[in-house]
């Protein structure tokens, strides 16, 4: 915990800097118009670098970096916890934040006001998602959930059409329920224990009245489940994914849903002591997986298909965590990493493939591989990686998932996961087939990505292949992360030792 008060590298910057620059951005835009693109980029780059530095520090020393805010140690004040688990997820979000910025660097080049709003919301949704992950305080997590949620509604309604407004309104309604449930849950805990710090709640949780504890858990689980796109609370997700600007689909998949998922895991693993929490996670995971993949098979629009596939992956991750074994949690974290990388690549490439088509039907992009070979190749890499072909990162995540299941002798589950992969294969290959082998309709003009978007996609594809060829790049970090989330006592002790 040496780095707690370091001036250049401290986890507080993940939240303080995006908020500071979000407030500053309108003024910067008045000085020089391109500042609204450049300044967020410098900030994202700095934070991504800082995340890597912090993660390496935590990995090498084994000490989590815990920061007090306003000088008060927990449980009096709010603390940020950057340990092996939260740090890993925060690093993934930080790196993807930078790549999303690079991808959308030239977004709305001509419309200044819209570009300003876009970069402002991007910084805030990033700060909110990282905040949910690294905060050590339950109410603070609620505040960040609100920031994430409201910037997501605004981004869904970004193109001011009728469909966008409808999707945003739907999301707003469900999201308000999520916030209310979370707030009620926090209220119940506070009336019982008089504290809001997660570690403090976790060590006193057995002092709670059993009925109140169950209800509080259900309220919190439902609330965060909505943000994590858990079945049946994910009605907002396909609309939001398909109505928001292209790169925001990647943001939803890699940041907001990961933040919700993290909250669910922290709730079940650390804060509450129910052994049945894992069973709940398991059942919801299975339901989410089966329904989402089944619906994805019938989608005609590419972004909706990707959205349902994304929900399916969330189900898979929930199943992996529900085993509560080292191998299961390890597979779950690997799946989270894989999903964040691959789904971002798929959204990046798909939004350029379907750039000029207003409704983003799959048939609109047929034969586009001959016009935009590199983008189509990127989409292809994403497809192979998400289904789990070697030598891509998806192979290892599914491999570890299956070994976790084999370790517990869940034969039926293995069959289920493999058949779900088969469904994925069918609907993804249908798109690939159209993309590569069908005759172009000529109805829509292809739109070749600019250099910045191309660079972002190539970088993502390289990361995916590098992890696929040499998984030891990340397995060390994931292993420590799995140990960190499963070890409740160390978490509590390290929070109170500062």
């Amino acid at each position: 915990m040496v780095a707690t008060n370091h001036i250049l590298v401290t986890p507080i910057y993940f939240i303080a800097l995006p908020l500071f620059f979000a407030f500053l951005l309108p003024l910067l835009g008045k000085i020089y118009k391109s500042f609204i693109r450049i300044v967020p980029g410098l900030m994202f780059a700095y934070l991504a670098w800082m995340a890597v530095v912090l993660l390496l520090y935590v990995y090498k020393t084994g000490n989590p970096v815990i920061v007090k805010i306003a000088g008060w140690a927990p449980p009096i004040g709010i603390d940020l916890v950057f340990d092996q688990f939260t740090g890993f997820i925060a690093t993934v979000i930080a790196i993807l934040g930078f790549l999303v910025w690079m991808y959308s660097y030239l977004f709305k080049k001509v419309e200044f006001d819209n570009a300003l709003k876009y970069f402002l919301l991007l910084m805030l949704i990033y700060a909110g998602s990282i905040g949910v992950v690294i905060t050590g305080d339950l109410f603070n997590q609620f505040v960040f959930l609100e920031i994430t949620g409201i910037s997501a509604y605004a981004l869904t309604a970004f193109y001011r059409g009728r469909d966008g407004a409808e999707a945003a309104f739907k999301y707003l309604l469900i999201g308000s329920f999520a916030s209310t449930f979370v707030l009620l849950g926090i209220l119940l805990i506070y009336t019982q224990l008089g504290t809001l710090n997660m570690a403090d709640i976790a060590r006193n949780i057995d002092k709670m009245d059993p009925t109140i504890k169950v209800i509080a858990f259900i309220l919190l689980f439902t609330g965060f489940g909505i943000e994590a796109e858990m079945f049946p609370l994910n009605g907002w997700a396909p609309d939001a994914y398909s109505q928001s600007p292209g790169p925001i689909g990647a943001v939803f998949a890699s940041m907001t849903s990961k933040a919700g998922l993290y909250a669910l895991i922290r709730l079940s693993f650390t804060i509450f002591d129910f052994s049945s929490a894992n069973e709940l996670l398991f059942i919801m995971g299975i339901l989410t997986l089966v329904f989402a993949e089944g619906i994805a098979l019938r989608q005609e629009k590419i972004k909706r298909m990707l959205a349902y596939s994304s929900i399916g992956q969330i189900g898979l991750i929930m199943i992996a965590f529900s085993f509560n074994t080292y191998l299961g949690v390890f597979a779950g974290i690997f799946l989270m990493l894989n999903h964040a990388l691959v789904k971002s690549l798929l959204f990046f490439s798909a939004s350029f493939l379907a750039y000029n088509s207003p409704h983003k039907y799959i048939k609109d992009i047929q034969g586009f591989a001959r016009y935009m070979p590199v983008t189509a190749l990127m989409f292809g890499i994403g497809v192979f990686a998400i289904i789990g072909f070697p030598p891509f990162s998806g192979f290892w995540s599914k491999f570890y998932l299956l070994s976790a299941m084999a370790e517990k002798n869940f034969v039926i589950l293995i069959i289920l996961v493999l058949s779900v992969s088969l469904i994925e294969l069918v609907y993804y290959f249908r798109v690939l087939h159209k993309l590569y082998f069908a005759e172009p309709t000529g109805e829509y003009q292809p739109h070749t990505p600019r250099w910045n978007a191309m660079l972002a996609m190539v970088l993502l594809a390289l990361i995916i292949i590098a992890i696929g060829v040499y998984p030891d790049l990340v397995t060390g970090f994931i292993g420590k992360a799995a140990h960190a989330i499963m070890d409740k006592t160390t978490y509590i002790n390290s929070v109170f030792s500062i």
Binding site: F20, G71, P75, N140, T211
Partner: protein
Amino acid sequence: MKKAIAIILLAFIAVELFVVFYKIPFGADRMNVARFYLENSPKKLGVANAVTAIVVNFRGFDTLGEVTVLFLASTALGSILFRRREIHTRLSHLRTSVEASVIVRIAGRFLVPLIILLGAYVFIHGHLTPGGGFQGGVIIATGFLFLLLAYRKFTIEHRTITFVESLAGITFAGIGLIGIFLGKTFLENFLPAGKLNDLLSGGIIPLIYIAIGFKVAAELTGILDTVLSISIDVKQKEIESQTEKNE
């Protein structure tokens, strides 16, 4: 059938919540953290109003988040209703045709400066008396609402609003960052705490509350103006459809 199931489910949730909340004894002493706040906010922070100490210092990080939520809400509203506002500026002559009564206009002249003064008083004395940045900001926004209702010609310059809210936001986050640069933690007090009950006491707490006051006032005024311009737009559509009918 669907509705019946929905009602039964809602009733079930309501009963469960009622049972749970009924169990919580009223006024029971569960104040583990809160007792610390009550005892230490005058002693260690030099702040007479314990609520302010909690909002701005102990849980100031949450407040920074809540201020951001408000900022986002006004931005999101502006982005959803943006196109309508363009229509309204084109039809600004319409606003002048429905003027408020003389009583409202004259009273506005007297009351608005007083309302703004009261709002400023509330947020400047946030660390001493009940109230603070959020309350003071809302009071100031009601003053502008009065002007908008009384004088149809009165328009709010959105550039000024953006400028004020940006500057206030930077001040809040910037004061927090200064704490880090001085080797302390984020949002930690780095100014002398002063004497309890003095206007100049509490270190950075009054500064932050003043920034919040400006920010809340600017944002709520912006939201009011945006909402008002849609209602006028809707009215214009009604008039247009009526003239079509008459023709």
